[in-house]
């Protein structure tokens, strides 16, 4: 750390600088929120303008050309730990920026967003990156009238949420009433006579209403399953098994968590029973059942379950 100064020399009121017709035009345009360059006899556009062509030493022409506002970063230097004289108190970049229409680049600060002190330069900071000036609202005719340059807008992130008031409906409501009492209720279809659980109030295959309630045991058979290695907040750990369980007496399977056994030991045809949460935690929700876990019964042969997949 540099030590604090113990002696300051400062001309009262500060030195003045006459800027002349070329730099003066540049600063006047800046105060109006525009950038101009000046054309050389050879046709190049210098930004910031100078009174002479640095390549030939000849006077520049009197022609001023509006450039930018957008420009291209030609090179940059990342400042991970800004000093107190710097325009930002957080990491930023110094960049040489060639405004569109100019043949030279000007030096300015590039604000790339909020970073922790000491952060590495972001990947999107690149030579060739497109940037635009951010002008101050109050301008006085100095290079500081441009507060900094900002990357061009390449993406927006509008926030949206759809809000619902959902009801389970008659059939699902009745099913969940049963679940709240520790019972699994289905409907028998009057046409195909299969038991649909959870019931929907109709048979999706036959297209008829259903109303005959059938209570099923909380015991069944795993028909098929996936071993999931992708974490999910609804599952206790990875890997977890999502399996189709055919409750005894049901006409179709239910998708549930299968646990209480290592994932690599779950089998097609394995007999399972619902593992209920403690009774005092029961609500009108399928989450009353934590998962289905194996019971000590022989596996069901594949032949008997293959038509339920």
């Amino acid at each position: 750390m540099p030590s604090e100064p113990n002696h300051v020399v400062e001309f009262p009121g500060g030195y003045t600088r006459s800027v002349g017709p070329v730099i003066g035009r540049f600063l006047s345009e800046l105060r109006d929120g525009r950038m101009v360059g000046v054309r050389t006899a050879g046709g190049r556009v210098l930004v910031p303008p100078q009174e002479c062509d640095p390549e030939t030493g000849e006077d520049v022409t009197g022609e001023f050309v509006e450039v930018g506002p957008a420009g291209t970063v030609t090179t940059w230097s990342w400042v991970p730990r800004p000093a107190k004289e710097h325009p930002f108190g957080r990491p930023f970049a110094w960049a040489l920026i060639r405004p569109d229409g100019a043949d030279t680049a000007l030096l300015h600060a590039l604000d790339l967003g909020v970073f922790e002190e000491g952060a590495a330069p972001p990947k999107f900071l690149k030579t060739g990156m497109r940037v635009r000036p951010k002008y101050r609202a109050e301008r006085t005719g100095t290079i500081g009238d441009i507060e900094c340059f900002l990357p061009e807008v390449t993406m927006i992130n509008p926030q949206a949420a759809l809000e619902y008031r959902l009801k389970g409906g008659q059939a699902l409501g009745r099913f969940l009433e049963g679940v709240a009492e520790g019972r699994l209720i289905g409907h028998r279809c009057p046409v195909c006579e299969k038991v649909i659980v959870p019931m929907k109030g109709f048979c999706p295959r036959d297209g008829v209403p259903t109303s005959e309630e059938v209570e099923l045991p909380d015991i069944g058979t795993v028909t098929t399953f996936a071993v999931n290695n992708i974490p999910d907040p609804r599952a206790p750990e990875v890997p977890f098994v999502s399996g189709y369980v055919l409750l005894d007496g049901a006409g179709l399977t239910m998708l549930t968590l299968v646990a209480g056994i290592p994932a690599d030991q779950v089998r097609m045809g394995m007999r399972v029973k619902a593992a209920w949460r403690p009774r005092e935690e029961w609500t009108h929700s399928m989450s009353n059942i934590k998962w289905f876990e194996p019971i000590d019964e022989p596996d069901v042969p594949f032949e008997e379950i293959k038509d339920f997949m």
Partner: protein
Amino acid sequence: MAKSCAVIGVGQTQYKTKRLDVSMAGLLREAARRALDDAGLTWKDIDAVVVGKAPDLFEGVVMPEIFLADALGATGKPMLRVHTAGSVGGSTAIVAANLIQSGVHDRVLTLAWEKQSESNATWALTVNGPFTTSLVVGAGGYFAPHIRAYMARAGAPDHIGTLVAVKDRQNALKNPYAHLKIPGISREMVESTPMLWEPIRYLETCPSSDGACAMVLASEDAAKKAPAPPAWVHGTSMRSEPMSFAGRDSVSPQGGKDAAADVYRQAGITDPRSELDCAEVYVPFSWYEPMWLENLGFCGDNEGWKLTEAGATALDGDIPWNASGGVLSSNPIGASGMIRFAEAALQVRGQAGDHQVDGARRALGHAYGGGAQFFAMWIVGSDKP
């Protein structure tokens, strides 16, 4: 009697993880302009526009027909949006074809797309309601148990899925638009990748892609004026069924069998394996190749894996499937079905480039969606039916 319909223009974008350089409209216009150029037409020549995209939550665009009407040159013209989950690209093309076959229009522009990078499809497929716990984690979580059921039912050996994963990625190396390009792809490489949803390995799944596909469909009169050879539509078919009902076969759904039977009948096909020259079939997880070989009647029950194992579906096999690299190599979900339909058309037009199947004259395009419950298929040929 339906009037003839032909594909006279096909346009695709490069498929890649992120197309951050274009807006959604810009992406679509890129595909549309290529299709119009192929057809030798301009926006003003188009009578109607039919668009399809993945379900709204996938990229958060709820009414694309309003959002995109002007960008797609539909001002003052009919514009329709089609919505059938993952099969949407196929059903969108069929709705567009119907507008020609009914004699209503002469030139219809149809497009399908997805910018998966704007969101996350696995999230969209996993959103839960408050009353049930679905426990499905993305499409792979849904399809993995059905793949396991197929393997058990058909007695298929474990490595069949690996073979498809390799074959489709080898084909992708010949397709300039394909997203996944894995030089030197091999069984060992696929088998070394982790199980995501056992029995599905990482390299047995499709990528997440940004991309769009467009086609110009035309009446017979309009097709005669097209600069390049057309692909004639020989048949189209769609079927749907509920996701869950007693007696449903989730491995080989009836809807798929019925749609296939219907489209073969229209095209006069009795043996698809010998009478078709190639097929572009929606295979987002490698095991769906043998599963759909059976569902689509290319072989008998439990025989699909044997065709795959014998190399019948390879580019040099007797019935190449997914010469383009398929969904396993490029998957802008909303567009994936239309890409299958468009690639089938490119094959019979002789315009498939390095992945051209020699002498292809009749091809199947296929798409499925939801819980394998929406099916869309067409057969296209180089001869007018």
